[in-house]
C-alpha cells in the first residue's frame, strides 16, 4: 500500500451542499444523509474560511479492473466511520469471475483519514479473500474526487484496491405513500411537539424519509395519487392482509415480482382485526416478501393516555413512529425483543428489549411509553443500523430474503450479486391449483450480468444440479426427486446477458411420492449448484391447493394420488400392462371430472400413447421376453388431445404450462399431418395454439417459431420437414432453447 499522505497536505474538497455536518440535521439540510466527520487540515491561504470537514463515509467502487474477464476483480466498499450514527464499520462485496464475497470489518481511526480493523463476517466465496485485516485510507482534493485505497492483509499476500467515491448514501430506495380518504397519516413530526422527550433532543421537523436517510438510504418518494375513496366499500371500510396485498399489486406503480429497493406504504383507518392493530408489514404473502406495509391511523395509536399533557402531539408522534416501525419491518428488521429468534443474519443476535428504537414497542419497556419517549431520539438502534447499512443486501432489500428469514437454504453458498437469477413460476394470475390438479412449474434461469456465462446444458434438469424443495404449511420440507435422470455427454452452452434458460417441472409428484396433493399452502424453492461451487437460489413460490369442490373428487383422490398415476403423468402415459390401473384412474378422471384441470393432464396421458403403435416388452411363451406392438386408437387419441389442448385453450396453457402446451400442440399437429393425414387440422391446431400463447404474452420469437412450424405442416407433401421439425419438441425432457419463452 502506498504511504503517500496526499489527503493531509493537499487542498481540500468542499463538502457537497446539503449534507449534514457533525451529525446534526435540520430543515436547512433536507437531503440529510450520513453526516460529515473526517476533519482535514485547513488549506493554506484560507485563514478566513471556516475549517472544511470532509466526510469519508459512503459508497465507493473499484476503478475499472484490468486483466482477462475470469480473473478480473472488482469491489464495492461501504465506509461508515463518520456522519450520522457512525458504526465504525467497513463492509464490501468483492467479485472475481463467477464468485463473490461479502465482508464486514470493525474499524477504528489510526491516523488522519485512515482506518484499520479486523474482518468479522464473510459470506460467499471465502477463497476470494483469505485476509483477516483491512486498512482504508481516504483522499480527496478540490481537483480530485474522493478516493479510497483499501488494503487487505493478514493471510497470504496483501491485496490493494483503489476505489472511487460514488455516493454518501449506501443504497437508493423509493417509497410510495398512499392513503384511504378516511385515514389520518403523520408523514412528519416536530421533535419538540410533545413535552415528554429527551432534554437534549434537537428541535426539528422530521419526515418519514429522514428517518431512513439517517440510516444511510437515499430516499425518493414517488408522486402520490389522490386519497383512495372508500364510498364503494359500504360498511366494509376496514382492511385484511389479503386486501392490502391485492391493493398493493393493483395500486402500487412499482409493484413487481422481483426484489427491488422500493416500498409501498398504505395509510388506512383500521384493520379488520380492530383497534388493537396499529400497523402491519402485511407482505409475507407470495414469493416476494416485505414490499408493502400499512398503518392504521385510527387504531389504538390514536388513543392518547388519559391525562396526557399534549394528546394531539402524542397521537401524531405515535402515527409517525408506527409508520417508520412498519417500514423498518420491510427492511427485515425484527422487533427489539425478537432479535434472537428466527434466522439472524449473524447468530446469535442479542435481544434488546429496552432499546429506544423505532423497532421497540414503547409500551413494552420498563416504565411504559412515558419512559420510552422520555429517552427516544427518533432513531434506529446501532444494531439495526449495522444491519441496514452492512448486511448482505439480499437480507435487507425488499422482495429478497423472506420476512424474518435471511435465507431459505441454510448454508447455501450464494453470492450477494450473482450473475444468474433463478425463478420458479406458474403461468396463471393466481397461484392457486384446483384439487387433483397436477402441479406444473417452470424454472427460468437468467443471466443478469453484463457478461456471457458458460453453463452445463443440463443445468436445469432434475437429478443433476437442481435441488427443489416443497413445503406444505409448517410441515418439514421435502425434496423433489424426478422419476428419471438423463445422463448426457457433458457439454457447455453460453448464456448471453439478458438471455434465459427454461425448464418445465412436474413438481406435483416424484420418486418420493406426491408432494403437492392435499389442500393447503405449499412453498416451493429451487437451488442450482453451479460447477464453480456457487449456489443460485430462487425466491420461494407459494402455491395454494383448493379443497375438493365435490365429495366425488375426495373419493377419487384415493386412487389418483398413487405413485403409479404420478409416474404415468410424468411420462405422458403408458402402454404397459402393469400400469393399467393408473391408466384406468386417469380415464376415470377424464370421464368423471372433464371440466377440471386434472382432466387436461389425464387426457394428454391417455391420448398420447393411443396415437400410434408402440413397443411392449412382455414375457413370451417360453418365459423369454418378446416385443409386441400395442394397438393404436387414433380416433380416441384425437378426441382426447383435442379436448386437452383445444377445448379451453387458456385453461390448458395455464395448467400444462406454456412450454408443455406448445410441445404437446406441436406433437399433436405433427401426428395429425403425418399419421392422421389431415394437414388442415394440423395447421388449425397450431394456429389455435399460436393465438393462445400470443394472448398469454409469450415472446414474439417463440410465436414466430410456431408460425413457421405451422406453415411447414400446412404445406402438402412436407411430411419430411414435419418429422425434422418435430424431432426436438417430441423428446420429453430435452433442455429448452435459450430465450424460448418469456412473458411480457
Amino acid at each position: 500500500m502506498s504511504d503517500d499522505n496526499a489527503f493531509d497536505t493537499e487542498e481540500l474538497l468542499q463538502d457537497e451542499a446539503g449534507f449534514e455536518e457533525d451529525g446534526t440535521a435540520g430543515p436547512q439540510a433536507p437531503a440529510a444523509g450520513l453526516a460529515a466527520g473526517v476533519q482535514a487540515p485547513q488549506p493554506s491561504g484560507a485563514a478566513l474560511v471556516a475549517p472544511v470537514r470532509l466526510r469519508a463515509s459512503g459508497l465507493y467502487r473499484s476503478r475499472a479492473g484490468s486483466g482477462l474477464l475470469p480473473f478480473r476483480r472488482s469491489m464495492e466498499l461501504r465506509l461508515d466511520v463518520d456522519g450520522r450514527y457512525p458504526q465504525s464499520t467497513a463492509s464490501g462485496v468483492l467479485r472475481g469471475g463467477l464468485q463473490s464475497l461479502h465482508w464486514i470489518a470493525s474499524v477504528s481511526r489510526i491516523a488522519a483519514n485512515t482506518w484499520r480493523g479486523t474482518l468479522w463476517f464473510k459470506d460467499g466465496a471465502t477463497s476470494l479473500l483469505p485476509h483477516t485485516r483491512v486498512e482504508i485510507r481516504v483522499s480527496g482534493t478540490l481537483l480530485r474526487p474522493r478516493t479510497a485505497r483499501v488494503r487487505f492483509s493478514g493471510a497470504g499476500a496483501s491485496m490493494t484496491h483503489d476505489m472511487e467515491f460514488i455516493s454518501p448514501w449506501f443504497d437508493q430506495v423509493e417509497f410510495e405513500f398512499d392513503q384511504t380518504d378516511d385515514a389520518h397519516p403523520a408523514r412528519t413530526i416536530g421533535t419538540h411537539s410533545h413535552p415528554n422527550r429527551p432534554a437534549t433532543l434537537p428541535s426539528e421537523t422530521l419526515s418519514i424519509e429522514d428517518a431512513f436517510r439517517r440510516a444511510g438510504f437515499n430516499v425518493s418518494v414517488a408522486p402520490a395519487g389522490p386519497p383512495v375513496p372508500l364510498a364503494a366499500a359500504g360498511a366494509n371500510s376496514t382492511w385484511s392482509d389479503t386486501e392490502l396485498h391485492d391493493a398493493m399489486q393493483l395500486h402500487w406503480s412499482r409493484f413487481d415480482n422481483r426484489a427491488q429497493w422500493a416500498l409501498w406504504v398504505m395509510h388506512a383507518r383500521q384493520h379488520d382485526s380492530g383497534q388493537s392493530l396499529g400497523g402491519i408489514m402485511f407482505d409475507d404473502i407470495g414469493p416476494q416478501h416485505r414490499q408493502g406495509t400499512a398503518i392504521f391511523t385510527d387504531s389504538f395509536i390514536s388513543n392518547a393516555p388519559a391525562g396526557d399533557a399534549a394528546p394531539a402531539a402524542w397521537v401524531a408522534r405515535m402515527r409517525y413512529w408506527t409508520a417508520v416501525h412498519e417500514m423498518g419491518h420491510a427492511f427485515n428488521l425484527a422487533h427489539a425483543w425478537q432479535k434472537s429468534l428466527g434466522n439472524g443474519w449473524i447468530s446469535p443476535l442479542p435481544d434488546d428489549p429496552e432499546s429506544r428504537s423505532f423497532m421497540n414497542y414503547p409500551f413494552r419497556v420498563a416504565g411504559g411509553q412515558t419512559a420510552f419517549f422520555s429517552d427516544f431520539a427518533f432513531r434506529f438502534s446501532d444494531a439495526e443500523l449495522l444491519f441496514m447499512r452492512h448486511a448482505p443486501r439480499r437480507f435487507v432489500q425488499m422482495g429478497h430474503a423472506a420476512w424474518f428469514d435471511h435465507h431459505g437454504f441454510e448454508g447455501a453458498s450464494t453470492s450477494p450479486q450473482p450473475q444468474l437469477r433463478l425463478e420458479l413460476r406458474v403461468h396463471r394470475e393466481q397461484r392457486r391449483l384446483q384439487f387433483l390438479e397436477p402441479a406444473m412449474v417452470e424454472l427460468k434461469l437468467s443471466n443478469v450480468s453484463d457478461d456471457p456465462v458458460l453453463l452445463p446444458v443440463d443445468l436445469l434438469e432434475g437429478g443433476h444440479h437442481l435441488t427443489l424443495v416443497v413445503k406444505r404449511g409448517q410441515n418439514p420440507a421435502r425434496v423433489w426427486q424426478p422419476f428419471a435422470t438423463a445422463c448426457h455427454q457433458p457439454r457447455l452452452c453460453v448464456l448471453a446477458p439478458a438471455q434465459s434458460l427454461y425448464e418445465p417441472v412436474f413438481v406435483g409428484a416424484g420418486k418420493g411420492g406426491w408432494l403437492v396433493d392435499e389442500p393447503g399452502t405449499y412453498t416451493l424453492q429451487a437451488c442450482l449448484h453451479l460447477p464453480s461451487g456457487e449456489d443460485i437460489v430462487s425466491t420461494p413460490l407459494e402455491l395454494r391447493v383448493s379443497p375438493p369442490s365435490q365429495q366425488a373428487e375426495y373419493v377419487h383422490a384415493q386412487d389418483f394420488f398413487s405413485a403409479d398415476v404420478g409416474r404415468v403423468l410424468a411420462f405422458d402415459g403408458s402402454r404397459a400392462d402393469v400400469l393399467d390401473s393408473a391408466m384406468n384412474t386417469l380415464r376415470q378422471t377424464t370421464a368423471q371430472f372433464g371440466e377440471c384441470a386434472a382432466a387436461r393432464h389425464a387426457e394428454v396421458a391417455v391420448g398420447m400413447p393411443l396415437r400410434q403403435a408402440g413397443k411392449l416388452l412382455r414375457p413370451g411363451a417360453q418365459g423369454a421376453p418378446e416385443v409386441h406392438a400395442s394397438t393404436p386408437d387414433p380416433i380416441q387419441a384425437r378426441d382426447l388431445l383435442e379436448s386437452a389442448l383445444l377445448k379451453d385453450r387458456h385453461a390448458a396453457a395455464a395448467t400444462l404450462g406454456h412450454i408443455e402446451y406448445r410441445m404437446y400442440a406441436e406433437r399433436f399437429a405433427a401426428w395429425l399431418a403425418k399419421d392422421a393425414g389431415d394437414p388442415p387440422a394440423a395447421a388449425a391446431t397450431m394456429r389455435a395454439a399460436c393465438d393462445t400463447l400470443r394472448a398469454r404474452h409469450v415472446k414474439p420469437e417463440v410465436i414466430a417459431d410456431m408460425e413457421s412450424f405451422t406453415q411447414t405442416i400446412a404445406a402438402v407433401g412436407a411430411v419430411g420437414a414435419v418429422e425434422a421439425a418435430v424431432g426436438a419438441a417430441a423428446r420429453a425432457g430435452t433442455p429448452r432453447k435459450q430465450g424460448e419463452h418469456e412473458r411480457s
Partner: protein
C-alpha cells in the same frame, strides 16, 4: 365480564388449553406467533359476574407447562396476555384493564 385473551409471544405450533370459570375448556391448536406483531391468536370469552376473583388456568401440554391467574373483580372487561418465556420453560400471564396494542 368480557375477557379478551391474546396469545402473544413464543408460540411455535403448540396447542394451548384455557380453563376459565363457568365456561367449557377452550383448546387452541397449533398456535404460531406472527413475528410482525408478536400475536398468535386473540379470542374473547364472556364470563359471568361470579368469575371475578376466581382463577383462570392456561396449559401447554406439549411443554408440560401450566400457569394460573386470578381474574379481576367488578370490572366489565379485562385483557389477558399469554406468552411463552424465551427459554420455553414457563408461561407468562399478564392481565390488565386496557387492550394490548400491536404494530
Amino acid at each position: 365480564m368480557q375477557l379478551v385473551v391474546d396469545l402473544q409471544e413464543g408460540f411455535d405450533g403448540e396447542d394451548v388449553l384455557i380453563r376459565a370459570p363457568g365456561v367449557e375448556p377452550i383448546r387452541l391448536a397449533g398456535l404460531r406467533t406472527r413475528m410482525q406483531t408478536g400475536l398468535a391468536h386473540s379470542l374473547s370469552i364472556q364470563l359471568d359476574g361470579a368469575a371475578g376473583g376466581r382463577t383462570l388456568s392456561v396449559v401447554v401440554p406439549a411443554l408440560a407447562l401450566s400457569q394460573a391467574v386470578a381474574l379481576p373483580v367488578d370490572v366489565p372487561a379485562a385483557w389477558l396476555g399469554i406468552s411463552l418465556a424465551r427459554e420455553r420453560d414457563a408461561l407468562e400471564l399478564r392481565i390488565q384493564d386496557t387492550p394490548f396494542g400491536y404494530v
